[in-house]
């Protein structure tokens, strides 16, 4: 596309970046909303085009590196591989959904809000397409800054402390990863201009002794584990999700947590295979503890947002455990589940947002009987909730089935313990559905009204996506075939 100079990955970064900068100048609320929605849809179009072009096996058009820091061996190299495609598609799809779903929320200084949202979109896209480690690190940090400002400015009552905790946590993790990056960089071979190289290929081919891999592994893993988050690095997450404005919570939980998984897939597994095979039991152990721990806490939550936050920790934990099992089925499951989890959790947040906007509360104990007042909202929620507990026909079933099957090949006991989480998920999800939507209408929920058309439409999109992937998962699975095969050769 457009010769060799501007490729699809470039567009994925620069369209939202430039649109975001323009959005800062549009002071009018409805105009800036329309503009950001337009930009997000264009970005979605570009990410779909990325998949379309890659189907022709024409990868040459999707890779291009500009010189950046020539004598350090860093370049502005971006590319789309299988896992990149699936995550850019998820990101591209999520933002229009988020913008439409929150269209009726009004924010103070909307131009700043939407500008920052688009900048975070650019940062996220950058993370998923960068094939230069220094560039990856740039985007990794830059995606955080707009989110920090979004949460601290437009969030709930305790937003400043909660977001700050989040920021310090991730910043510390990132810096540890930076040490790992530099150390690995110094082990890479020379290029034409530089003694070492930051290129992905150089990193993947670097020869590291097992002793070096052992501590480098942890430097990288901590950064990714904080982002995901994996027990015991998860403490920032419920607070941040609860305090953030819902649009940002959707970005955080739907897409940003995937940065951690993506980091593991793109950087951790291929570069430190020996350490991965050595520490797989520890990591999977932590994940399984986290799964059970988060599920149990989710059962006790009274706040809808916190419930979904803990449920997300459990789901992400399962994905991380599956990655480290290094089994083909499990990794295939993770690839598709990353997409599904993003769609489902954004759906859940939309429902919560709709309830909270109407009633101003999100305590499960105070709600009840919404089904009588808003049947369509209820039906949507039930479908999304069923997807959340991975019932057959829904998208999560495919992913979780593959993941459990792969994990089973790795170790039966982990699978058994992690499998309990399916039951726990059913308990907290159905309990929530029951208490919030059924039962008696009380004085607080009596004012509930049916949702507007645009909201119905957006929930319909999510439900269609849930069933579509649930019934025809093959196209999505094919998208990541090469990535899975590549990982497996590295982890032999």
């Amino acid at each position: 596309m457009f010769g060799n100079y501007i490729t699809i990955p470039h567009l994925l970064i620069f369209v939202p970046l430039i649109a975001g900068l323009i959005a800062f100048l549009i002071k009018d609320e409805s105009k800036v909303k329309a503009w950001s929605l337009f930009a997000a849809i264009v970005t979605l179009g570009v990410s779909v085009a990325g998949i379309y072009f890659s189907k022709n096996n024409d990868l040459s058009g999707l890779t291009f590196g500009y010189e950046w820091l020539k004598y350090l061996g860093a370049s502005f190299a971006v590319s789309l591989d299988g896992v990149g495609r699936i995550l850019t598609l998820l990101t591209g799809l999520s933002f229009p959904i988020i913008f439409i779903a929150t269209n009726n929320s009004s924010y103070k200084n909307p131009h700043l809000f939407y500008g920052l949202m688009l900048l975070s979109l650019a940062g996220l896209m950058g993370v998923f397409v960068a094939t230069d480690c220094l560039l990856f690190y740039f985007f990794w940090e830059l995606a955080l800054i707009p989110v920090y400002f979004l949460c601290s400015r437009w969030g709930g009552e305790k937003r400043i402390q909660a977001t700050f905790k989040f920021f310090i946590y991730t910043f510390a993790g990132s810096l540890l990863m930076l040490i790992g990056i530099i150390y690995t960089y110094l082990q890479t071979g020379p290029t034409a201009f530089a003694p070492h190289s930051f290129a992905l290929s150089a990193f993947q081919n670097v020869l590291l002794q097992p002793a070096q891999q052992q501590w480098l592994f942890w430097l990288f893993f901590v950064a990714f584990a904080i982002k995901m988050p994996i027990f015991p690095f998860h403490t920032w997450q419920p607070d941040t999700y609860e305090q953030s404005p819902t649009a940002v919570t959707m970005v955080l939980s739907g897409i940003m947590v995937k940065m951690g998984l993506f980091g593991v897939i793109r950087w951790l597994l291929p570069i430190f295979p020996a350490a991965v095979l050595q520490y797989d039991n520890i990591v999977i152990g932590l994940c399984v503890i986290g799964i059970i721990y988060a599920s149990l806490i989710a059962i006790r939550q009274d706040d809808l947002k916190r419930l979904v936050a803990y449920s997300s920790i459990a789901h992400i934990g399962l994905m991380c455990a599956s990655l480290f099992s290094a089994k083909q089925l499990a990794i295939e499951g993770v690839m598709i589940q990353m997409f599904n989890h993003g769609i489902n959790i954004i759906g859940l947040w939309i429902v919560i947002e709709l309830i909270e906007r109407q009633l101003g509360i999100r305590k499960i104990s105070q709600l009840g009987g919404i089904a009588n007042k808003a049947p369509i909202l209820t039906i949507s929620l039930v479908v999304i909730a069923l997807a959340n507990i991975a019932l057959p026909l829904t998208n999560s079933f495919i992913g979780e089935f593959l993941m459990f099957a792969g994990l089973y090949q790795f170790n039966v006991w982990y699978t058994v313990v992690a499998g309990i989480s399916i039951i726990l998920a059913a308990i907290y999800t159905l309990n929530m559905v029951q208490k919030v939507f059924y039962g008696e209408v009380n004085t607080l929920t009596v004012a509930t009204q049916e949702i507007a058309f645009s909201e119905k439409a957006i929930l319909a999109v999510i439900i269609v996506a849930i069933f579509l992937v649930g019934l025809f998962p093959q196209p999505l699975l094919q998208l990541t075939n090469e990535s899975v095969a590549f990982l497996l050769t590295k982890l032999k």
């Binding site: 820091l69 020539k70 004598y71 690190y137 740039f138 940090e141 830059l142 800054i145 400002f149 601290s152 400015r153 937003r159 400043i160 700050f164 920021f167 310090i168 910043f171 510390a172 810096l175 540890l176 930076l178 040490i179 530099i182 150390y183 960089y185 110094l186």
Partner: protein
């Protein structure tokens, strides 16, 4: 060479000019004109390698692209400082022309300290830059804190100078060449004779004092806090940077080959500086004092260059001094205009002065080391150098954990500016003491832009080292 001679001459011009200048604002323009002249002539020397003045210095001064680049950075930052803070210098007291003269003498010292090739010129450089600073610290004559700071600075400074002289004497006595020249002191890789070792430790202590490294940092918060804020800005940036350049040149050229024998000392000093600087900064309420501790913390990071002593370290140190000076000068320039120096004084700044708040955010993000700012690139280079060195990897991990701590106190200001409401009671003082001129605002934009550009393309600066 150009910079040394011209700053000295221009210092004298400013000094005597004080008699003739009628208006209080005249000296500022003369100073800026002079500085531009010095900057250009230094640039000429950097480009062509030939100074205007052919003086036989008996190899006691040495000019190469490293020194000249640093001098260019220092001059540029000073120019920015004059442009941003010229009006504030006028407000310190009556003797405006003399302040500028003293600042020029400091610059002369900076240039000598950056290009010394003999222990004597090192001593001269450090003294020439220190003595005018003692005076500038006490220039707010009616303020007790300023007086106290000046006295404290002078006493501690002369003490450290004494130690430095002692160290020089030991090294002179300890080497058989009977020479002060750095090249002759360079001993090779053998075990250091005891006299040299003692001299080295004394020099290390003296240099640590000058760059306010722990445990020789105690003067810094009081002096920085007590001095008029404009001069704190200058002291904390350009002067400290010059100290570091002298530090790395001394230890690289004279003692580089025996690094293994003294590296542990540097490790201890670096770790202590990082720890004390960052942890103490967390508890400060006054932004000015917090920036004083932050300057100690940043010094800890710069010490990684002395620890590493390789090409990355040198490139990185130049970059670090530039990044740190630009950001600190910028944040001080804003602080000077504030009516309340506490963190709460920044509350609601973004609402009233959004553009200024954005600039301040860029400066603070740069000090924290977030990508896209020069601060990230410089921290990156420091880490690169230290990891390349290969010894003591725990120190690197400790350094980044401390960098995460530093985010805590820098972000407190960002939080105050953006997320907190200003004091809206009737009669509450305005956030800014005066109306900001458009020129000031544009210069702040320019500084912030420069930080971002350097953050994207640090090679714009580092290529000069290989010119």
């Amino acid at each position: 060479m150009n910079a040394i001679i011209l700053t000295a001459i221009w210092g004298i011009v400013m000094m005597f000019g004080g008699v003739f200048f009628k208006s209080k604002s005249t000296p500022k323009y003369w100073a800026i004109a002079g500085l531009v002249l010095v900057f250009l002539s230094n640039g000429y020397e950097l480009l062509n390698g030939v100074p205007f003045f052919e003086i036989d210095v008996k190899n006691m001064l040495h000019f190469n692209s490293f020194n000249l680049t640093f001098i260019a950075v220092a001059l540029f930052c000073t120019l920015l400082f004059f442009l941003l803070n010229g009006r504030d210098i006028e407000k310190v007291g009556e003797n405006v022309s003399e302040y500028f003269a003293l600042l020029f003498f400091v610059l002369c010292g900076v240039a000598i300290a950056a290009s010394f090739n003999s222990l004597l010129t090192l001593f001269l450089g450090i003294e020439i830059l220190s003595i005018p600073l003692y005076i500038l610290t006490g220039s707010d004559k009616r303020n007790l804190k300023s007086n106290e700071a000046a006295l404290k600075y002078f006493l501690m400074g002369s003490f450290s100078t004494g130690i430095m002289l002692m160290g020089i004497a030991f090294i002179y006595g300890g080497n058989s060449n009977g020479s002060f020249l750095i090249d002759n002191i360079n001993l090779g890789e053998g075990v250091m004779p005891p006299m040299i070792a003692v001299g080295l430790v004394f020099l290390l202590i003296a240099m640590s004092f000058k760059v306010s490294a722990a445990p020789f940092h105690f003067w810094t918060p009081d002096v920085y806090d007590g001095a008029p804020t404009v001069f704190t800005s200058f002291m904390a940036t350009i002067v400290k940077a010059a100290g570091f350049i002298a530090f790395i040149r001394l230890f690289d050229n004279a003692f580089g080959k025996t690094q293994a024998q003294w590296q542990t000392l540097i490790v201890v000093i670096t770790a202590a500086t990082l720890l004390i600087g960052n942890l103490t900064a967390v508890f400060q309420q006054s932004v000015k004092r917090m920036l004083a501790y932050s300057s100690i913390a940043q010094a800890g990071f710069m010490l990684l260059a002395i620890f590493a002593l390789n090409d990355y370290a040198k490139e990185g140190l130049i970059l670090y001094t530039a990044a740190y000076s630009l950001a600190t000068i910028g944040i001080f320039a804003i602080l000077i205009k504030m009516s309340d120096y506490t963190i709460d004084g920044f509350n609601g700044l973004a609402k009233q002065y959004p553009a200024i708040a954005v600039c301040a955010t860029v400066f603070l993000l740069s000090l924290t080391g977030i990508p896209l700012t020069a601060g990230f690139q410089s921290k990156f280079y420091m880490l690169l150098a230290a990891i390349k060195n290969g010894q003591q990897n725990w120190l690197v991990i400790f350094a980044v954990l401390m960098a995460a701590v530093s985010a805590y106190y820098y972000f407190k200001i960002i939080q105050a500016m953006f997320f907190k409401e200003d004091n809206q009671q009737a009669g509450a003082p305005a956030i800014m003491v005066e109306k900001l001129t458009p020129a000031f605002t544009y210069l702040l934009y320019f500084t912030a832009l420069l930080i971002v550009v350097l953050g994207l393309f640090p090679n714009l600066l580092t290529t000069w080292l290989y010119y």
